[in-house]
């Protein structure tokens, strides 16, 4: 009997101890300063999720330190390495963070906890939504005059363009030459008629299905369909008309021109029977290895293509169209990913200055330019950077950008545009709806949205 009592007591003590231990570990889990997800990579000694709060001045150098939030996954390793070198050389403690979360959702958690990133890489639309409350006015910076891609709101520059990205049809010139025997010059195929003739030639030569189509909603709606709005004098006015219901997109010349081209792409899609389960990686692999010759995409696709045994001569060309308005000789694109500097009291003046110095280093220092162009293989957004771009898709984009042949991105699409109309576009791709049906869905969508003021 006595033994039993002792056992019970022991059990109780054990349970309390165990509960205590678990509680402590849980509390310890909450207490770390690092972000819950998103790998943090400290440059100056700190590793993993644990990191010194940015407000505590680091011991190194002149005591400046700042944090960078990266939202471009493919350059994370390069950024971390660069940050560590930069820290050593400049005596500034730089820490790079990454999260796969939606940018705005991730930043909001940092704003809420009073630990904003000094320098945050965001998308264009985020600059518009964040600038007023969270971003520092950078109008006074030197680099403003050397770029046309920065984002300014009400005359004040807030967003530093990280790179230029543009959309068009990616081609594999080697694969085309192998079939036709002639060198491929994209300029010869600006019209849909000539493009269709080339496709027929490729098919006759043994390439049964020369096209791949990415079924991702962002590719279809945010990239392809968006060109319908962008390839005109005043995209804003057109969107407003759609919103007011005074324009029927089904009757729009540009829409029909782009959809005519899409029909040709769709008819020659290698995955025509299962278009909406085609995987992006498979499509890009086929393109890289020359099994297909064309795919609508952008120079960011290089990060996928270069994982495969890619052909040497590839590039991006404008979407071929019969509509004769000059847009079939231009790519659509511009600045992509923007750095903003936090303006709250949680970021000290010294930190903001260190971040500004870093941006200037990227633009004007040879090492900084080399980092953007060669290490990260990005297309620079600044006219003073003349380094040749390493990857072929980027080189194409640079060529069009230098020639002034880029049609600007329309950055004010509502947040659910890509999802709702992406689904509608997928239906069209899968032959579940026809063009008038698709047009009706677009009209209905636009009539139901509230346009954000800008």
């Amino acid at each position: 009997m006595k033994n039993k009592t002792i056992m019970t007591v022991l059990k109780k003590v054990g349970a309390v101890a165990l509960t205590g231990a678990m509680t402590m570990s849980l509390l310890a889990g909450c207490g770390t300063t690092g972000p819950a997800d998103g790998a943090a990579a400290g440059a100056a000694g700190t590793e993993g999720g644990e990191s010194a709060p940015a407000t505590e001045a680091a011991a190194s150098g002149d005591g400046a330190s700042f944090t960078i939030f990266n939202s471009k996954m493919e350059i994370q390793d390069q950024l971390v390495e660069m940050a560590s070198k930069y820290s050593e050389e400049k005596g500034v403690n730089v820490e790079v963070y990454y999260s796969s979360d939606t940018v705005a959702a991730h930043l909001s958690t940092r704003y809420a906890s009073g630990e904003p990133y000094t320098l945050a890489m965001v998308d264009a639309k985020d600059v518009y939504s964040l600038a007023a409350e969270h971003a520092l006015d950078l109008s006074g910076e030197d680099w403003v005059k050397d770029t046309t891609n920065a984002i300014a709101i009400d005359g004040k520059t807030y967003g530093f363009p990280v790179c230029v990205e543009a959309r068009g049809i990616i081609y594999n010139a080697d694969a085309i030459k192998k079939v036709t025997g002639k060198d491929f010059n994209p300029d010869d195929y600006a019209t849909l008629d000539s493009f269709t003739a080339l496709i027929e030639e490729l098919k006759a030569g043994g390439m049964a299905t020369p096209v791949g189509i990415m079924k991702e909603d962002w590719s279809l709606a945010a990239h392809y369909l968006a060109e319908v709005y962008e390839q005109r004098e005043d995209p804003d006015a057109f969107v407003k008309e759609l919103n007011a219901g005074s324009t029927d997109i089904g009757a729009d010349e540009k829409f029909n021109s782009m959809m005519d081209t899409f029909d040709v792409l769709k008819a020659n899609n290698y995955a025509a029977g299962s278009a909406i389960s085609a995987e992006r990686e498979v499509t890009e692999q086929k393109l890289a290895e020359g099994e297909i010759a064309f795919m609508f995409g952008g120079n960011w696709d290089w990060s996928v293509i270069n994982a495969y045994d890619y052909s040497e001569n590839m590039g991006i060309m404008p979407v071929p169209q019969n509509m004769d308005d000059g847009t079939n000789t231009k790519l659509v694109g511009g600045g992509s990913k923007f750095f903003i500097i936090d303006s709250s009291e949680n970021t000290s003046a010294a930190q903001a200055q260190a971040a500004k110095d870093f941006l200037n280093w990227l633009v004007y220092d040879e090492a900084g330019q080399d980092f953007i162009v060669n290490t990260c293989a990005l297309v620079p957004a600044f006219s003073n950077i003349t380094l040749p771009v390493a990857d072929p898709l980027g080189a194409s984009v640079k060529k069009y950008a230098d020639a002034g042949s880029l049609i600007a991105n329309y950055n004010y699409l509502p947040d659910d545009h890509y999802s709702v109309l992406g689904a509608a576009f997928q239906k069209y791709l899968a032959d579940q709806t026809d063009r008038p049906g698709f047009a009706t869905e677009i009209n209905t969508y636009w009539k139901g949205v509230t346009l954000a003021a800008h």
Binding site: T102, D415, S419, K427
Partner: protein, 292 residues
């Protein structure tokens, strides 16, 4: 020490339930109340201002047709999943308690899918549906075969199949415990009274296992209603947003479309729906519970 003094009771409570209560308060109750507050604001998720807008978000949620479609879809998905999860789990449990050779090995084997996280599971099955099944179908038919995931009904079928595969093992364990808790003597007595094995199972074992059923059905209902990870990695709402479940719609609404307040209001509606169904089910289940 006076055992019925208030201070004694409080200190006892704090000693045992204190840490858990504080954590529960901090991670569930306070965020819940704060979330409730956010449903009355038109916050976009990032701005500093949280303007008070009253019931606008609830009106928006009630008028949000895609949300109700997603909720309806979730109900359909849950009904099928819960049904099949429990049927499969019960049969598995029956099998591994009936004394087959290597039953411990089977128990472990059936349970393993539950140890794989929903995200990984989704990607693995996506590969199976998109590549393996397609390759098999193509080699049989000789032509091209579309993936199950590319059709509206197919995607739903895939979600249900994978859920059943994932949860059946877990629920099986609870049923196994239920089977083991029924004393052998009762079954023997029934057999002596003239029951055959099937009758003994139906009339003695199953009624005594009612608690297991209540528990399993409750767990599977709540999990199915809140499904997100599997939904995200297996179908991502495709094709044509036709497999977007309620939780995914709530996430999109709040974070992707930046209507935080509306998303939060929709989350609350989902919670209420889920709570009502769960509590009703447990209430009905418990009412008829019998003891040996």
């Amino acid at each position: 020490m006076e055992r019925n003094k208030m201070s004694y009771k409080v200190s006892q409570f704090l000693m045992f339930a204190g840490p858990a209560s504080i954590l529960f308060l901090g991670t569930v109750i306070i965020p819940f109340i704060y979330g409730l507050y956010l449903t009355f604001t038109s916050w976009d998720g990032v701005s500093k201002a949280k303007p008070f807008v009253g019931l606008t978000n609830y009106m928006a949620a009630f008028a949000d047709a895609p949300y109700w479609q997603a909720l309806g879809r979730t109900v359909v998905y849950s009904i099928f999943s819960v049904l099949f999860i429990n049927i499969v789990a019960f049969l598995l449990a029956y099998m591994v308690t009936s004394g087959v050779k290597g039953q411990n090995f089977f128990r472990a084997g059936f349970f393993i899918p539950n140890l794989i996280g929903g995200i990984v599971l989704g990607y693995v099955w996506k590969f199976v549906f998109n590549r393996a099944f397609v390759a098999i179908a193509e080699s049989i038919s000789g032509g091209t075969a579309p993936s199950l995931l590319s059709t509206t009904n197919g995607a739903m079928f895939c979600l249900i199949l994978v859920s059943v595969w994932q949860y059946a093992g877990y629920m099986m364990l609870i049923y196994v415990a239920g089977f083991m808790s029924v004393p052998e003597s009762l079954k023997e007595a029934a057999m002596i009274d003239g029951c055959n094995t099937f009758q003994a199972t139906m009339n003695v074992t199953i009624p005594l296992m009612r608690a297991s059923f209540v528990q399993c059905i409750f767990l599977s209902i709540t999990r199915c209603f809140m499904v997100y990870d599997l939904n995200l990695s297996l179908t991502k709402g495709e094709p044509f947003n036709s497999s977007v479940m309620a939780a995914m719609h709530v996430y999109n609404q709040a974070f992707t479309y930046k209507n935080y307040g509306t998303g939060q209001a929709e989350a609350l509606i989902l919670f209420v729906v889920c709570a009502i169904i769960g509590v009703t089910q447990v209430y009905i289940g418990k009412k008829g519970e019998v003891a040996a």
